[in-house]
């Protein structure tokens, strides 16, 4: 057991800090978020070609770097700090994870190769509503002799209007059995509509599948949507943790400069104590993220992983997502308060973090939802879904 970043992981963090502070500054974020796609494709290209972040945890046999999930978390944390607008979360933390967990060898070989080449992907599952478990899947499939037909709607699909590869969840129209499918986004019968959002730094879309016909090999071998979502929760938590840290740093810098009543407002004890509480949130969030990432790593290692550690996935994911959701929202709200009137203007960046904190809180289940999921593991002895 070793609960600290390795030298190599520290180097990845440092290079991510450097790259993002240059490439994802306030102006870049504002420009990207104003577009429908929501990201700068040239920047995405350099993420893929220079940094190779999109392939961090794709095994070497499928063309990736073969690193672990801790490295994914390290990168996501830094992206969260800089509000990077990119298809990273959708492609890597939803798409790649789905392929790695549910694909057979042929499927992983084919689709990971496309992603390594720079194609974007996402996962569509929810039919809408407040539930973020696999129970939220309402789309249906029926398997014919030669092909599969898919029908239904998918809501809140991250980057769903721009992703090039879709992985979708649906239920057998008779048995209700869940299955996952992978398909090119331009398949016939797939309609995709951008749904503008309050947080403009992450784009959502609604997808409608009307008699979409797929070859039988598009059905992924596995169907453990629950674990795929848990891996995504941990990555999202890492991003939230980075955001929570960034808003703390920016707010402390602001109050150190800002004078009122003849002194910097950083010298007021109530401001100091607020900043201390934000520090606690960010620190504990970080522990939650790295715990979750370590567990995820063992899950992704499959039979080579420590099964005891891997068995904690749903618990670790819900803890990380619950804690980081609340921490980010608390820090962003407190940061906005510490900025006073200017935090309320479009011009300052605080509101971008504040909105991102809210949208991230809701995505994949908020604190209360994840705590109830934990509670049912602790108190009811139920398996989490």
């Amino acid at each position: 057991m070793e609960f600290a970043l390795t030298e190599e992981q520290l180097m990845i963090r440092e290079s991510a800090e450097g790259f993002l502070s240059a490439k994802s500054n306030s102006a870049a974020v504002r420009e990207a978020m104003a577009t429908e796609a929501g990201y700068d494709s040239a920047l995405w290209q350099s993420v893929c070609e220079e940094m190779f972040w999109h392939a961090v945890h794709i095994p070497e046999e499928y063309g990736g770097l073969g690193l672990g999930y801790v490295e994914v978390a390290v990168v996501m944390e830094q992206m969260g700090r800089r509000l990077l607008c990119s298809p990273y979360f959708a492609t890597v933390c939803l798409g790649v994870n789905a392929l790695l967990l549910a694909g057979n060898n042929a499927q992983k070989t084919k689709w990971c190769a496309e992603i390594v080449e720079g194609k974007t992907a996402t996962l569509a599952f929810s039919g809408g509503g407040r539930d973020w478990s696999p129970n939220s899947v309402t789309a249906q499939y029926s398997i014919g002799a030669e092909s599969i037909e898919l029908n239904g709607e998918f809501h809140y699909v991250v980057d769903g209007h721009s992703a090039e590869i879709l992985i979708v969840a649906a239920r057998d129209c008779e048995s209700g059995q869940l299955a996952l499918f992978v398909l090119p986004a331009d398949t016939n019968g797939v309609q995709r509509k951008w749904t503008p959002t309050m947080d403009q730094t992450r784009k959502l879309a609604t997808l409608s599948f009307d008699s979409v016909t797929l070859p039988r090999e598009s059905r992924l071998e596995g169907n453990d949507l629950g674990s795929i979502l848990d891996l995504a929760r941990i990555a999202l938590a890492a991003e939230q943790c980075g955001g929570a840290q960034a808003i703390l740093d920016q707010s402390v810098a602001y109050v150190q400069e800002r004078e009122q009543f003849g002194r910097t407002i950083a010298s007021f004890q109530s401001i100091k104590h607020k900043a201390a509480d934000m520090t606690l949130q960010a620190e504990v969030a970080r522990s939650a993220v790295y715990y979750g990432a370590c567990v995820a790593q063992e899950v992704l290692a499959g039979s080579d992983g420590d099964q005891h550690v891997a068995s904690e996935l749903s618990e670790a994911a819900s803890m990380a997502k619950a804690y980081c959701s609340d921490a980010y929202f608390f820090n962003a709200g407190s940061g906005l308060q510490m900025h006073g009137g200017v935090g309320f203007t479009w011009e300052y960046d605080v509101h971008l973090y504040f909105k991102r904190a809210k949208s991230s809180e809701s995505l994949l289940g908020d604190g209360a939802w994840n705590r109830e999921r934990l509670a049912s593991q602790l108190l009811d002895g139920e398996a989490a879904s």
């Binding site: 104003a34 929810s126 809408g128 509503g129 407040r130 809501h155 809140y156 749904t195 503008p196 959002t197 309050m198 947080d199 403009q200 959502l204 004078e259 009122q260 009543f261 003849g262 002194r263 010298s267 007021f268 109530s270 401001i271 709200g333 906005l336 308060q337 006073g340 009137g341 935090g343 309320f344 203007t345 479009w346 011009e347 509101h351 504040f354 909105k355 809210k358 949208s359 809701s362 995505l363 908020d366 209360a368 109830e372």
Partner: protein, 392 residues
Amino acid sequence: MKLSFSAEDETFREEIASWLAVNLGGEFEQLRYRGGPGDEHMFAHERKVWEQAMAKGGWTCVGWPAEHGGRGLSIEQQVIFHEEYARAGGPGRVGHIGEGLAGPTIIAYGTDEQKKKYLPGILNGTELWCQGYSEPGAGSDLANVKTKAVLVEGRWRLSGQKVWTSLAHESDWCFVIARTDPESVRHKGLGFFLVRMDQPGVEVRPIEQLTGTSEFNEVFFEDAIAEDILGEPGEGWKIGMALLGFERGVSTLGQQMSFQNELNEIISIAKQNGAAQDATIRQRIAEAHMGLRLMRYNAMRMLSDNSGGAEDSAALVYKLHWASWHRNLGKLAMDVLGPDSELVESGPYNLSRLQSMYLFTRSDTIYGGTNQVQRNIIAERGLGMPKEQRPQ
């Protein structure tokens, strides 16, 4: 102490309710429930026409003394007025700064001539007011006034900048606190000025807020002529503080009624989308309902003060209470909507009423004295605890 209204008051309730039922229709129908926080800039012209219709019915300035043109209503009847106005979905009052702040201050400190000049425009809804209090960089430190007033050939001329001024574009008048004595510091040497907005020396620049809209403005004064000074040079702080006192008046009850409309919308969504079955949401809705009801009784206690002292605390905590409550309501609204809370109604950034309210509530704990400043005031004025030290 009792809660029930007298028969006379109930008759009054019918009077205002039926007047609104008849008059808040037709061209004004579209104004129902509009113009609240986060929506203050909408339908400004139509709401000014509505203000004049209110005036014709005798429903402006209902709390002003009759001798100054008001209706001289009792506290109870003012409560009823605000209740019924909100129940009917009456739009946010564009005249509220004139009626609630400028007017009472002019009544208290103005000369007879000033009263004659300014009150009628407020009473009949033809002249709107805005306020020039905050300055950039001053924040909650209201005494940190840099705007200057210089006497040139018998007229005061103002130069400086104010910020967070709502309805500045629509307003005819602005009251401005400015420094009359250039040597003075902080709350000494200030004057309270009444300034016509439509003049070359006044420029209004909208501030784009986190909602993407611009209810608030910066107002730049460059050698702008002040039409009048209220009181004497040097009395600006005293008068300004008195004005802020009026803010805690009966009109807070009107604000509560618009809160109630928001809460009703949230409850109705929760019932529709299933959030009402979520136990933690249920707790929070109950909490919100409680908070609002108790805010009402706290305000009534504040308004009915007869106990000399003890009730002052009810007034001191009022701002902290409603601001924190409203901020929580904003968050609750989003959590009741769930994932749908992210989806904006149309266009690139047309927020819904509740989304806009949610974002706006983050300013409630900042403007008019942040929560931190409110807590200092409660501790120092209410509890006699030591004042914050000022560094030398």
